[in-house]
């Protein structure tokens, strides 16, 4: 490791993941069980262990990453976020004191940009590589300006400006990130942002049309085999399926009176059947489509972000096939459904490994970075983002 490589033409190094599904499975299930047994308190330790495992198994150029968050701090952050959310729910849902609930929601809304910045900062400063932590230097003011400007912009343009906002947000995040004394930068242009969005949109549309044509074809074949009107029946099912969902609001608060309605008893029998068919349809067709699309867009956007990000003059590169990532994502969700969740750890690692093995970094000297020390700070932002599952894609 002591040799210098400055004079050699530098090559890309590829990230790798060295963890295994069976090892991660045990960590995952023990985390869940202990979280249950401790009534949720262990969840903070669970989060740290999960992240430590994933980071520590992520390698580039022979060295691994580290996750350094303190579980006690995460626990405090969690308690604060859950406490505020619970207060809001109590006031809005149970006490019906909408004024108080409104004030809580409004304050949370005002704090949002600050909390998002906190979350970004938390993730970075708790990540280190070769004992050098990452850092976030973005200013709080910039976050407020960003959120106000882009919220207005997207309302006015009916979200047509969203790709532009996406590129600007990535710039805000990445160009303010640091590793030791090294600074990251992101120089993706708005034009490239738009072309990525359009690609995702076009492929998604083509794929979904294709799927429905395929299903239609199968129904025509089935219809001709059974000589019945398979298509109209299925069309009917589909229409009732949406009906089930849309009529829920009316019945939601009424204690269950279904069986006192006899005027449409027969159709209710049908509804039961259609409900089952619909559920199976949802699980086996709808979810894989959604997850395929998620994988596809993740692939496109991950490549986009990597291809325009640098650490000083050392570039990152993404070489994922968005289609392949889509297939991995769709087959993962099928695996998870059929195993009732038990294959989740393998699915997660499979997805992560593909992404890492298609991420590259070209750096002439891994030893040049100097530590500016580990920092501490609030965890509330991170836990808020975690709790509401906001995906910031860093």
């Amino acid at each position: 490791m002591e040799h210098k490589s400055e004079n050699r033409p530098t090559q890309y190094h590829t990230f790798s993941f060295k963890g295994s599904g069976s090892e991660y499975f045990r960590i995952w299930i023990v985390n869940i069980a202990l979280t249950i047994l401790t009534l949720g308190i262990y969840s903070a330790w669970a989060k740290v262990r999960t992240n430590r495992y994933i980071y520590a198994n992520t390698y580039i150029n022979g060295s691994n990453f580290e996750y350094n968050a303190d579980p006690i701090k995460i626990l405090i952050g969690r308690i604060v976020v859950v406490g505020i959310y619970a207060t809001f729910v109590v006031f809005s849902q149970y006490l019906m004191m909408y004024e108080v609930a409104g004030v809580i929601a409004f304050i949370a809304f005002l704090l949002m940009p600050w909390l998002v910045r906190q979350a970004v900062s938390f993730k970075l400063r708790n990540t280190s590589y070769r004992n050098i932590p990452f850092k976030y230097r973005g200013k709080i003011g910039d976050f407020y300006i960003f959120f106000i400007l882009h919220a207005l912009l997207n309302i006015v343009t009916l979200f047509l400006a969203f790709p532009y906002s996406y590129v600007k947000f990535k710039k805000l995040i990445i160009s303010n990130s640091e590793y030791g004394q090294g600074k990251f930068s992101f120089d993706g242009t708005t034009g490239e942002g738009y072309s990525t969005y359009i690609l995702v949109f076009v492929w998604t549309t083509i794929f979904i049309i294709g799927i429905f044509m395929f299903i239609g074809l199968i129904l025509v074949v089935l219809g001709s085999i059974f000589g019945g009107d398979g298509i109209s029946e299925t069309a009917q099912m589909a229409s009732v399926l949406t009906d089930i969902n849309s009529t829920i609001p009316l019945d939601a608060n009424i204690s269950y009176d279904n069986n006192m309605t006899y005027s449409n008893e027969y159709s209710k029998e049908e509804l039961g059947l259609i409900g089952m068919v619909g559920t199976m349809f949802a699980f086996l067709v709808y979810l894989p489509i959604i997850f395929w699309q998620k994988g596809l867009s993740d692939g496109y956007f991950s490549n986009f972000v990597r291809n325009f990000s640098r650490l000083e003059d050392a570039p990152l590169k993404g070489s994922m096939s968005p289609f392949k990532l889509g297939v991995i994502s769709a087959t993962n969700i099928i695996m998870i459904i059929f195993s009732l969740g038990m294959l989740y750890p393998w699915a997660k690692i499979r997805y992560l490994r593909y992404k890492l093995e298609n991420t590259h970094f070209r750096c002439s000297d891994y030893e040049q970075f100097e530590s500016l020390g580990y920092e501490k700070g609030s965890t509330v932002g991170e836990e808020m983002v975690d709790f509401f599952d906001i995906d910031m894609g860093i």
């Binding site: 295994s20 045990r26 069980a33 202990l34 520590a56 060295s63 004992n131 979810l287 998870i336």
Partner: protein, 334 residues
Amino acid sequence: MLVEAVLYDGKSSKEHEVVIDFTFGRRVKIASHGIDVALDDIEIDSRLGDTPRVLEFPNGVRCKSKENDKIDQILLDFNIKKSKTHKIESSWGLSLGAVLITIIFVVFMLTSGANYTANFIASILPQNTLDKVSKMTLDKLEDGYLYPTTLSEANRTILQKHFDKLTKGEKRYVLHFRSSNRIGPNAFALPSGDIVLTDQLVALSKDKEFRDILGVLAHEKGHVVNKHSLRMAIKTALSGVIIGYMTGDISILATGIPTVLINSSYSREFEKEADAHAVKELKKMNISTIYIANLFESLAQEHGMDENSTTLQLLSSHPLTKERIEYFKSFAKE
């Protein structure tokens, strides 16, 4: 004992291959870097799978070693407490225990656990919350669905008497007579104890004393007593959380899949519970269950129901009317 490791000096990202020497007297030495510290001054991270072990030295110096087993042995030799989590995680037997705990918990929460939670929440919920929610719902229904009753004074008096006897004059229960062609022959209960009965249902009664309608009212009261709406809400929320956790994706909740799943399987159970409550109440009042069975039967005939199909029964979201008629009849014979 000697442990091979990579050392970072805390200042740069340079890596140094070193040998850490754990010696007697609880001193830890790294000769190449002139480090000689007490064992108690270094922090050894808990083991996690087979990931490189981190040893934090004073002054930001950090070592990483792949020799996990050796380090575990050192901890044991020097009698240093170590986290038990890895012990559980590294054993398939104990992991299986974790699987069992998880499954038992999930199943429990979706069955009787939801009832306990519902009872608990109901006990801490101020009654006026339920009343407010119910009132809002009722107001919504009054607007376009429900109209003033056209029942005769005499009939209403009979029904009201039944109702008062059923509820023993408890103030939370209020009977509302309404007419509704849109809802049709129906009765429903709100969590507050408000029970709405449509004229259309009363019109189908074949008993002058309305003992069949009394059965229906008892059934509705069963929904209130058993807190079905709260239990349903809790189960829906729980299953959403579980599905979200399983798939690692909360966005599935927005698809409404948990709601459909829960609605189809649980409302059936709730109807059975409410029926059982009705039977119990009718017995107490010494009224045969044959009347409500007859009412169900005439309704079924009126609407020309085809009850021959048994395949539908399994998939149905509630017990078939035929099954329920049999259920009520079985008590009538006693």
